[in-house]
Amino acid sequence: MAQHAAKGARFQAVTANRLSDGEVVYFSADNRWVERFTEADVADGTEAAEALLARAMPDDFEAHVLEPYLFEVLEDGRFYKPASVRETIRAAGPTVRLDLGKQAEAKAE
């Protein structure tokens, strides 16, 4: 599997796949699993990232999601964006099918 978080990454978020349907989800500042990357909580620094991952993985996390992990995000003006191609694709959908995935849902709204 491609590396998720580069060593020394400053900003990181937590992602996973939802148990029931495999949907890509992100852990939010109010401790929910949300579908939009823009609603993900972003940790600044290693300690904050570890704390964020710990918050995302209480004892019963497996009842909701699969394999949560940290990944690097970059500041993009006032917003953040995933650092890797892999996480960019997870956040949007297949680059070869723009009618599918989160990118399609965003367009439809």
Partner: protein
């Protein structure tokens, strides 16, 4: 075609019920993901980037019309309106919800299909020649022994937890269309001088991180003894295959590290023990029973030529091109094998929509004795079409973007799902295949280039068979950025060979230009009648490397 008996039906129905219970227990929290994961994998359910993925088995790539209709129905009802045909002659759905998969499997079982052993460290779906039973020159229909192997290997208790996955391919023709030498076991059905049917067995082929061409272990295993011989190979592998390192766990590594001669000695020793017991000697009555399922369909007695077929080519240049590229001679006078390319220019290799699958199912029912085949090169085949009907079939295909006349040409590429879908991938494969297809979209140019097999993988696991592409492309990740490495000279046919890497990798922006450089180097240097692979084999890497990097 093989039809389930009462035992097959019960076996599959029981398995679906068992999996339904497992899914319910996972959703309720009674099973952890660590407990559930091996169970879902044994039923073909993976977790990919965006969703779960379900891989459905298509034994030896053969489908009846109603089965293809069901695949279309599944795509519509449980997925996003399409499926992806794979290099293992299977189909994958990219978006099914976990809690709906048991219902999906129930529907599949209605047409004698399942997803059992499409994942996990077991013997996977047996693959074979897509022209089986239709092409002239076969020793026997390879699907007979493929079905015998399927029955032997399904739920085989000794081989449920192998060191790694295990893949078997079968051909019965001198032209290998099943890539048998790139499989853990490759089988060639052949006839000896006495006229008896038996099997040439190759062991230890494979791609992935460490590619090898299989070694011939036995030149002729008698028909009734094949399962005993396969069991012997499997038993040696199961005992000695490495379990400490998944990268070295395939049988190819065992054969390589043990040596061909020692491997052969161990297999023969085990074979002698199993054979003496006669436990796995296949009774002739059973061979006959299974053979009967693959009896040739009721072909009409027809002249070898069809005036209508010839005239249609004269009247329609696009149809003539289709015939030239996609239609192959049938063993039966008056019939043809019609290949359906799933590689439209700029399309996703191997993808078919539900509507396209329905069209193909309908054409198979009306014009091809109810049969469709899936190829390991991610195309489909109507194996038994009357010459008189080929134009009608072509027109229907053309109306649904299924008549691209590019079989075996540069735009007929294998590509794995890559980083657009796959959890293991390092780079995208499909967009690259699309760009190459667009760059070489001119069919006249493709015909001028001739046979050229490009195969693209998004990681070293080599699901896109890049090692055996005439031109292979491997996507690699460098600090989160996609790069592409080129290899040349690979082949997956009877002259199987592993390609050699040209040198440093290319960026996403430069890779298509680099492929064009390789192609123009070939067209500049080829001798009369030489295919790309012939020119490469004559000249070697040097001229290609020089133009790519100097």
């Amino acid at each position: 075609m093989y039809r389930y008996d009462e035992f097959d039906h019960k076996l599959v129905a029981d398995r679906v019920n068992q999996f339904r219970g497992q899914v319910e227990r996972r959703v309720s929290g009674a099973l952890s993901e660590d407990q559930f994961k091996p169970l879902r994998l044994m039923n073909g359910v993976y977790l990919q980037l965006h969703a779960y993925m379900l891989r459905v088995a298509i034994p030896y790539g053969t489908l009846r019309s109603e089965q293809m209709q069901m695949l279309a129905h599944i795509a519509r009802k449980y997925d996003r309106g399409y499926g992806h045909f794979t290099t293992r002659q299977n189909i994958q759905y990219n978006w099914p919800a976990l809690d709906k998969i048991p219902d999906l499997l129930d529907e599949l079982a209605c047409v004698e299909m399942h997803a059992i052993q499409t994942s996990g460290n077991c013997i996977r779906n047996v693959t074979s020649d897509q022209y089986a039973g239709a092409i002239e020159g076969e020793a026997e229909d390879p699907r007979i022994v493929s079905e015998i192997i399927r029955q032997w290997s399904t739920f085989h208790p000794e081989f449920t937890y192998l060191p790694r996955k295990f893949k078997i391919a079968v051909t019965a023709h001198k032209n290998d269309r099943a890539a048998i030498k790139l499989h853990d076991i490759g089988i060639v059905v052949k006839q000896n001088d006495a006229g008896e049917i038996g099997y040439e067995v190759h062991v230890g082929g494979g791609q992935g991180r460490t590619p090898f061409v299989a070694k011939k272990m036995n030149d002729f295993v008698p028909k009734a003894k094949l399962l005993a011989y396969l069991e012997a190979v499997m038993r040696v592998y199961n005992m000695l295959g490495r379990r400490d390192n998944s990268y070295k766990a395939r049988i190819k590594i065992l054969v390589h590290e043990t040596g061909e001669e020692e491997m052969r000695r161990m297999v023969e020793e085990e074979f002698a023990k199993i054979d003496a017991s006669e436990m796995l000697t296949v009774p002739q009555t059973e061979i006959d029973r299974i053979s009967a399922y693959f009896a040739p369909p009721a072909f009409e007695t027809l002249p070898a030529d069809s005036q209508a077929f010839t005239q249609a080519q004269a009247d329609d240049a696009d149809f003539a091109r289709f015939v030239r590229a996609n239609v192959v001679a049938h063993k039966q006078d008056g019939y043809a094998i019609v290949n359906i390319s799933l590689k439209p220019i700029g399309g996703v290799p191997g993808d078919a929509t539900d509507a396209q699958m329905d069209v193909i199912a309908d054409l198979a029912e009306r014009f091809s004795h109810d049969e469709v085949r899936v190829t390991h090169e991610q195309n489909l085949v109507l194996p038994h079409v009357k010459l008189d009907d080929v134009k009608t079939v072509y027109d229907a295909l053309a109306a649904h973007d299924l008549a691209t006349a590019n079989l075996g040409l540069i735009s007929d590429q294998i590509a794995c799902p890559g980083l657009d879908y796959c959890n293991l991938a390092n780079a995208r494969s499909i967009p690259l295949a699309q760009e190459i297809s667009e760059r070489f979209s001119d069919l006249d140019r493709q015909y001028d280039i001739g046979e050229l097999k490009i195969k693209i993988s998004g990681c070293i696991n080599a699901c896109g068979h890049h090692h055996v592409g005439h031109i292979g492309i491997l996507g690699v990740d460098k600090k989160g950025t996609e790069f592409y490495q080129i290899s040349l000279g690979g082949a997956a046919d009877e002259n199987a060979a592993i390609g050699q890497i040209t040198g440093r990798a290319f960026t996403e922006e430069d890779i298509v230009d680099a492929i064009e450089t390789v192609v123009t180097t070939y067209t500049d240097l080829r001798a009369d009648g030489e295919r790309f692979i012939d020119t490469y084999n004559r000249l070697g890497m040097a001229p290609f490397k020089e133009r790519l990097y100097d």
